[in-house]
């Protein structure tokens, strides 16, 4: 497995691979790799023959120094996991490489970045779009894989890719879950044991809504009530948002579900380190029989 530490070196490698007619797959990560990330590697492997995993904790997508500091960093274990999973190259850029002195250039998809996480975390998706643009330009991939757990992130990056004309296939990969349903997240390790137990309510709330929709309940208010009932089974969790949005545009869906609708949840739980952990999860509610 190759370890590449600069944009210039990765670009030179990508040029060579492309001249050889090889297909490059990119999996952008912030490290602290878990099975969810490895499923992204599998998805990239299925679509490309040279898989690059980037590991970079991007400061511009964090809203507070505390969350940035608290973000888990496990580079040695990450490298071992990549090696064991057959990754071809890991890209480990420095801050100076991705944000040279005086860096002041931003990429932003303005509308799709506004609701949900964008409302809770001002500037978050500007940071995401900017760093992913840099990673795209560095790795020159044919395909890039992102988890559906971060649904809005995926929607923002698809929009950005289409709007700017990146010649890259952006692929969403289904969320990987613990046995009890909790979506895998690098932040889960920070949960207190009690919070980890109660965090199951997040996926159960999504299940409850999906079951109700499958049974013909399309009224947003009724679904909202079901979600709240499930979330209320946790005493530690504190709801940030539970929203119904058009799965394509993220425009609000009010009244009744009349098209594929994203149910997006964000709930805060207590952490071992004192700063609360914000967990997000989502489900696309299909309104017609699949």
């Amino acid at each position: 497995m190759e370890t590449i530490r600069s944009t210039r070196a990765l670009q030179a490698r990508a040029d060579k691979l492309r001249q050889q007619g090889r297909r490059i797959g990119l999996v952008p990560t912030m490290g602290a790799l878990h099975e969810g990330h490895l499923s992204l590697v599998d998805a990239a492997r299925a679509r490309a023959d040279f898989v690059v995993v980037s590991i970079y904790v991007n400061p511009t997508q964090f809203n507070g120094a505390a969350d940035l500091e608290a973000y888990p960093r496990t580079v040695e274990a990450d490298l071992a996991a990549c090696e064991a999973h057959g990754v071809d190259a890991v890209f480990l850029p420095s801050d100076e490489d991705l944000y040279p002195e005086g860096a002041e250039t931003w990429v932003e998809s303005t509308e799709i970045s506004k609701p949900l996480e964008g409302a809770s975390r001002p500037g978050h998706f500007r940071g995401v779009a900017t760093v992913v643009s840099k990673l795209f330009l560095a790795a020159k991939p044919h395909v890039a894989c992102f988890g559906e757990k971060d649904y809005q992130q995926l929607a923002v990056l698809k929009r950005m890719t289409r709007d700017l004309g990146f010649d890259i296939d952006v692929v969403g990969v289904p969320t990987v879950r613990e046995a009890d349903g909790l979506a895998l997240s690098s932040r889960n390790v920070r949960l207190t044991p009690e919070a980890r137990t109660e965090a199951v309510v997040v996926s159960r709330a999504l299940d409850a809504a999906a079951s109700a929709v499958a049974a013909g309940e399309f009224r947003v208010e009724a679904l909202q009530h079901l979600v709240q009932t499930e979330l209320d089974k946790s005493v530690l969790g504190e709801l940030d948002y539970a929203e119904f949005r058009c799965a394509e545009s993220l425009a609000p869906v009010t009244d009744v579900l009349d098209r594929p609708t994203l149910l997006a949840l964000a709930v805060q739980f207590p952490s071992k380190d004192g700063d609360p952990v914000r967990l997000i999860d989502n489900r696309v509610l299909e309104t017609s029989p699949s």
Copy 2:
């Protein structure tokens, strides 16, 4: 000469050229080609073996519908000039191609876009950076050439290219001038005959400042006075700005010139069509003997 009308088709062509080991040079233009543009083609030819000229009047960099409407469009003559000048391919994208429905993604270098043209034309450089990003992603060039006449545009695009990590060499090409010194511009054809005659004061003001600096005058106030004296020789011209800025960062230079300093001028003149023509020109004043 090839004519290519979609981003997808240009990307496919660029991929093939790159696989053949050929070097691609891009000259982004808004058409209405003159000798200045052709000097950009020459500069690209000297650095690449496949030269693409893009012709696209980018709506997002205009501030008013009037200026956008008044911008000269001479596509047939442009194609003939490109053909005669040995251009390999002309890229003629549609609005829908570069700005698909719901396009909302912007690229912006925030600080370097603020003074000078950025102050006079809010959003102008966001439009420029966005469209040039799209053209870069479409043509996948090794090198791209821009005129030094639009000095701040060149500075913005160099900053954007560095910050985002575009693997492209951005080259500035010296301004081409009429016999009397007027910088070539697609807007010059709109000047009334009287305005065309008087417009020579712009380059003369730059000459006066450069001569004074060469003779040891480094005081901004004295140079400003010299510039004003030259501009006052035109009764039709109306000064928008005359500014001294660090040639690298565009930070203001006050008091004395202590480093290479951009003198940037913008002057409005009457046009045949009624809407005034804004002419810009500049000179980098070298403070040490070259």
